[in-house]
Amino acid sequence: MVPAGLLLVTFLFGLFHFIPGDPALLLAGDNASAEVVEGIRRAYGFDQPLPVQYWTYMKKVLQGDLGVSNFSREPVTALILPRIFNTAQLAFWSMGFAMVVSLILGCCSAMFWNTWIDKLITGIALLGICTPVFVSGLFGIFLFSVKLGLLPTGGLDSWRSFVLPVVTLGAFQAAVLTRMVRASMVEALGQDYIETARAKGLAETAVVFKHALRNAMLPIVTLFGLGFGATLGGSVVTETIFTWPGLGRTMVESILSRDLPVTQGALLLFAFMFIGINLVVDLLYAAIDPRIRFDAP
């Protein structure tokens, strides 16, 4: 986790220094005189050699200082932190929705493998996979907000603001994960120990949920973790559609206004959330699968 974090900061630093464009020129504006540009360059340390800049940046990041926004002059951390919470909320509820839906539909699909139930669920899932978030999001706004007037078109005021973004973002993940849960469950149900469980006299539901699902969970948990990451990425689009005051929209806005420190800070936090999720998934493995524990008794 620590090496991954350091590598990440380094990569981000490199990314922003090797992209074309002079940051001092950008800050100064198109009409600034050469002296002003030079002054800004010195004030921000852009004239220092790269290793020195890297070292300064690294030190600051480790101290929790992500710089100051080029435009609002506020510290990036103060700008971003409240928005992380909103994004995390959106991602959390979306993934929760996706997990519940995909587990139910995926298990149903596997239990009724190759029947019309399976085929219906597969069809719905394929439709979900094929529909981009910006299409389903706009369609949802059109239907539920504009036509029916049930839900707000955007913003974050009450629980009703959550429904559309969460379902839009979650439905895509649910569709992808349903397919995976199904595949994983079909495989688990085909194992010999399922026969063993049936021979023991277990009821079919116990066979499915106690024996098969537990074994199918390992790949599923991995995918839930990846899905969480994808949801964070997807939140960029979803937040823009639903004007959600989150990290994704902040990042888009900062990119459009070329507010480099904010973009950098937002990316960094996105990446750290990703690493954190991977850590949680790895820890979950050990809890689920006794074969992965290091200190097996």
Binding site: D192, K200, G201, R291
Partner: protein, 346 residues
């Protein structure tokens, strides 16, 4: 239902699998995995079921416990658990038993699987695996179950402390012992052993087979032993049934079968058993011709005729019925009385 002295009697058991093709899943044909098979098993005896890969022996074994639902036929089991207290055992048809009856029948019929690596749930420890049948059937209190698991593990040559370990920590032979302990947990009267030793090393095979024999003597168990290895079957079976392409071709006591096989397929199977003597020349003339034909379109007449060295015209047109040629020795061959086959008696 007629009274029967047998523990298990299988009558005309068949299992067809429908092959489906194309978008609309039209039925494109049937595989007759098990085709009109009848046999019986008595209390405390071992019936060996042998044949090549794909001959339907595993399907037969699983159908006995209705792990695959049979297509036709009766599987009559003499159940004491389903009989009222103090009354004579009741004959239950496993094929048509209700879910409730089936659950009770699981106490009396168990199965040991071929692959000791995939037949144990990797997420459960050995204690959970062995005690789960007891939990499901609500037998005993929790501490009694724990003690029972310990004594079961010891009876199969493992340690009671192994209950806390997971399957991946054991070797193949040990895992098969766990499988046996699990099958024994409910004190069944019949165990279907589906290739119980074929995944094990030769040195371990003997240990596991001897363990099965010991347990049989101790508990009066009956076994249906499914195997392709005739040496294994001969070692522990009282009677042997030979299957070919879903049909029973010969059934006799072990000694009678080895001394005077009546079906050319039985002869060929026996001739294929390697003899650990480098000086002895291999019998070249009893081998099989060609490969096993497709199970979707088996040969007309006797299924075996394209590979049979003795086949005559009648074999190509008429399917030979199973007939008894000696007391307890049945065979499905038109020529059983006319041809002289090799003896493999010791």
């Amino acid at each position: 239902m007629t009274a029967s002295a047998h523990l298990l009697e299988v009558r005309n058991l068949s299992k067809f699998f429908t092959l489906r093709k194309g978008m609309l899943q039209r039925a494109a044909g049937h595989v007759r995995a098990v085709d009109d098979v009848s046999f019986f098993v008595d209390d405390g005896e071992t019936l060996g079921l042998v044949g090549e890969s794909g001959c339907g022996k595993t399907t037969t074994g699983r159908a006995l416990l209705r792990l695959v639902p049979p297509s036709a036929g009766e599987i009559l089991f003499k159940s004491t658990q389903l009989a009222r207290e103090g009354e004579a055992p009741r004959l239950i048809d496993v094929a048509t038993a209700t879910e409730k009856e089936l659950k009770v029948l699981r106490r009396e019929m168990q199965i040991i699987f071929q692959d000791p690596f995939s037949s144990l749930n990797p997420r459960m420890n050995v204690g959970q695996i062995v005690s789960e049948p007891l939990d499901v059937q609500r037998i005993g209190r929790q501490d009694e179950r724990r003690d029972r698991v310990g004594s079961l593990l010891e009876s199969v040559g493992l340690n009671a402390k192994d209950a806390r370990r997971y399957p991946h920590e054991f070797s193949g032979g040990q895992r098969q012992r766990i499988g046996i302990a699990r099958a024994l947990a409910l004190e069944p009267r019949l165990i279907v052993a589906d290739e119980p030793v074929s995944a094990l090393d030769a040195s371990i095979q003997a240990q596991v087979l001897n363990l099965m024999l010991d347990l049989q003597n101790e508990h009066g168990l009956a076994f249906v032993l499914i195997a392709h290895d005739l040496a294994v079957v001969r070692h522990i079976s009282d009677r042997i049934a030979v299957m070919y392409l879903g049909r029973l071709v010969e059934l006799a006591s072990t000694d009678a079968l080895f001394e005077s096989p009546q079906h050319p397929y039985t002869e060929a199977l026996m001739a294929a058993v390697p003899i650990p003597d480098p000086d002895r020349e291999r019998a070249k003339d009893t081998g099989l011709l060609g490969d096993v034909p497709s199970a979707t379109s088996p040969p007309v007449g006797c299924h075996f005729h394209p590979r049979c060295r003795y086949a005559e015209d009648i074999c190509k047109t008429e399917s030979p019925p199973l007939r008894e040629i000696q007391e307890g020795h049945t065979v499905a061959c038109h020529l059983a009385d006319t041809i002289e086959l090799r003896s493999f008696g010791s």
